[in-house]
């Protein structure tokens, strides 16, 4: 990681530096060309360069030379990381103007691929994210390799799973199932479950987690949502039982009530006297969450 040291501030401090809404020197207006010249000039102060990069993102595609200079800043590990991240953000902002960005796109994507193994983890993660959202096969291959061989991983497993979930056609289901069984972390398990929420074969997994009081509330919440998408009738059934269960946790009762209110089968719920009676009783619960969700439920189905 010698290069990382050379790169100046760590990405963490870079993020911190960016966080407040800095309205610094930039109140003065200057031409887009002049802003680009400042942004790509290594001799200018870092803050000034960052500010210049945010000023006129669309100008970068006006001339090929400007684009190449900006891409050079982005790929140059000798540049301060804050400047590289600002260059990336500026190009990303420009990429929204699809018609104007047409001439830049191929070189931009090519440069991003160069950066997937950059020593800076923040830059790497952002670049992987941009490419993953384009369903980029190159990045999917790298992420899958990293999940199978952790020594090759470019990002932690939970991040890799999150990025793979952008493309439902990626071949991540088998590895996600494996991670649910033997999770390296609770975040990894959560992201694996989120990815599997589009997998009809995962219904039993979600049923089990939803009804398992030892599971984290967050995972049970996620399972309720997944189940409702994959087998709505199953969620209705489980949510009903959870609401009727006097020993259930407040959070899960609230989730189940919200699910029934938002997504329940109206005819079935309104005809369920036992459920309505129970929800009526829940109005008086101590938990604000349960009270609030019971009240909304009754607004829709009760009285």
């Amino acid at each position: 990681m010698a290069e990382k040291k050379k790169a100046g501030k760590s990405s963490k401090s870079a993020r911190k530096a960016q966080s407040p809404a800095k309205k610094s020197p930039a109140t003065k207006k200057r031409s887009a060309r002049s802003a680009l010249a400042t942004a790509t000039s290594a001799s200018k102060p870092v803050d000034e360069r960052i500010q210049a990069m945010t000023e006129a993102p669309l100008a970068v595609c006006a001339e090929d030379e400007s684009l190449q200079k900006m891409l050079n800043v982005l790929r140059n590990r000798e540049e301060p990381i804050e400047v590289r991240l600002a260059a990336l953000q500026s190009l990303q902002a420009a990429s929204f103007a699809v018609l104007a960005f047409e001439s830049c796109r191929a070189d931009y994507i090519a440069t991003l691929r160069e950066l997937v193994e950059d020593p800076d983890p923040e830059l790497r993660q952002r670049v992987l994210g941009i490419l993953a959202r384009e369903n980029d096969g190159f990045v999917q291959k790298k992420l899958l390799e990293g999940l199978k061989k952790p020594g090759k991983a470019l990002v932690p497993p939970e991040k890799a799973l999150q990025l793979l979930s952008y493309d439902v056609h990626s071949e991540a289901y088998p590895i996600a199932r494996e991670i649910v069984k033997n999770p390296p972390s609770s975040e990894a398990k959560r992201e694996a479950l989120r990815l599997l929420s589009a997998d009809p074969a995962a219904v039993p997994v979600f049923e089990k987690i939803l009804r398992d009081k030892d599971e984290l509330a967050e995972l049970r919440q996620l399972s309720a949502s997944a189940l409702n998408s994959l087998r709505p009738e199953k969620l209705q059934e489980h949510a009903r039982e959870i609401v009727l269960d006097k020993n259930e946790y407040d959070d899960i009762q609230a989730v189940s009530l919200t699910a029934l209110t938002t997504l329940g089968d109206e005819a079935e719920v309104t005809g369920d006297a036992e459920l309505l009676k129970r929800v009526d009783a829940l109005k008086g619960e101590k938990s604000t969450k349960v009270k609030k969700s019971a009240r909304r439920f009754l607004e829709k189905y009760g009285e």
């Binding site: 669309l58 990303q92 902002a93 929204f96 959202r133 939970e158 997944a226 407040d250 899960i252 919200t258």
Partner: protein, 406 residues
């Protein structure tokens, strides 16, 4: 004696919504019993609560507004027109929190409840407004099975050239937001689209009860009572959004409102705001919202764009740029199809293939009981005069809490 009050020229309860832009209204006599002359002077006023909306009236398309007007109403049952507008700075909080009353002398002869419904700063919504908006949005999404899918399909990599990187960027997104807002209002008419003022801290938006709190990975967490926990797009549950600024205390680094309004006085100059602040706001996060093909998967997208549209509306007002016939109101450089003033806009025009995308999701523009424009197949030019300043009929039926009429 009884009179009928028609808000937005309609007796429908769905039409009883006004903004700062004057709404055309009518009054007519439905029961003449007790009338002693051919016309009866009816006084129209409004009653409200301390926190409710307030309205003002005028008889015609010009002139000053007042809190009360007197209208001579024929006993024949013929309608008499007048106008109602929300009093700037006094929007409603709840549906029906303003009551329009018609009196003859001291006798109440007719009344309707209405709402001053405008687009508000999302950071300042009441819990009730916030919850209604979130519930309507979740219902529109309906776990990826609702009408929201069309809105997601309208804003993809394939369709993006219709709406980005050329002059039509702002008009297209204005129509897009209006279409979505009208769908939300079909679910709950009291809802309007709120905006995220991205140049200011907005801690109330990024909460578990509203648009969620991102963890370090960027996975957005919701409270158990928030129906957005069931949000689903492209088959996958949840939202990825990793802020690069402190959502509790900070704001992204981008052009402020004042800087944006000062970009230039012609549309050709102003439209560079597509890069900054628009693009800059998108990329102040990682996750869905930071790439054009996935941005519309995050509900925040619509609040972000609502602010982009508000900035345009504000710029239009400051510079008087509502008239499509005025060169400075638009960039008339010949542009790709869909970006020129007379062009119809995809997907509402239903045109597919060739230079348009292969399909047109969602069909025609949703209609509204409270405004007739822009019609089912809006053109680029139909987005400009959103308050009906140049032509009353062009009124699109929305306003921003901080952008006055005219």
């Amino acid at each position: 004696m009884k009179v009928e009050l028609q808000i937005n020229n309609s007796t429908s309860t769905g039409a009883r919504f006004v903004g700062w832009t004057p709404s055309p209204c009518r009054i007519r006599m439905t029961d003449r019993s007790g009338a002693t002359s051919l016309t009866v002077n009816v006084q129209i006023t409004a009653r409200t609560t301390t926190t409710g909306g307030a309205v003002v009236f005028r008889r015609g398309t010009t002139g000053t507004f007042s809190t009360s007007i007197t209208v001579p109403v024929p006993i024949t049952g013929a309608s008499v027109p007048f106008f109602i507008a929300g009093r700037f700075g006094r929007p409603s909080i709840n549906n029906g929190d303003v009551t329009i009353e018609a009196r003859v002398g001291t006798t109440l002869v007719g009344s309707v409840r209405c709402m001053v419904r405008v687009r508000k700063n999302a950071n300042q919504l009441t819990p009730g407004e916030r919850d209604r908006f979130v519930a309507a949005l979740a219902q529109l999404n309906n776990q990826g099975l609702g009408r929201f899918t069309d809105f997601r399909d309208m804003h993809t990599n394939v369709s993006s050239p219709q709406a980005h990187g050329a002059p039509g960027f702002l008009p297209w997104h204005r129509a897009y937001l209006l279409d979505l807002e009208r769908e939300l209002q079909a679910i709950d008419p009291s809802v309007s689209l709120p905006y995220w003022r991205f140049d200011q801290p907005a801690p109330n938006i990024f909460t578990r009860d509203f648009l969620g709190v991102s963890d370090s990975l960027g996975t957005v967490q919701f409270s158990p009572t928030n129906p957005l926990q069931f949000w689903r797009t492209d088959g996958v549950q949840g939202i990825n959004r990793r802020p690069f600024f402190n959502t509790g205390t900070g704001a992204p680094s981008l052009r402020t409102e004042a800087q944006t309004l000062a970009i230039g006085t012609t549309y050709s100059a102003f439209r560079s705001m597509e890069g900054n602040p628009h693009g800059s706001a998108h990329v102040s996060f990682g996750g869905f919202i930071s790439s054009i093909g996935t941005a519309a998967r995050d509900p925040l997208f619509f609040l972000l764009h609502c602010n982009v549209d508000r900035l345009w509306a504000k710029w239009q007002r400051v510079n008087g740029r509502f008239d499509p016939a005025l060169a400075a109101s638009y960039d008339n450089t010949p542009s790709p199809v869909g970006h020129n003033l007379p062009d119809t806009m995809w997907p509402w025009n239903g045109i597919t293939g060739g230079t348009r995308p292969p399909t047109a999701p969602g069909g025609a523009m949703a209609s509204s009981p409270s405004a007739t424009a822009p019609g089912p197949q809006p053109r680029v030019r139909d987005s400009l005069d959103y308050q009906g300043i140049v032509n009353l009929i062009s009124r699109l039926g929305f306003d921003y809490d901080d952008v006055q009429f005219a």
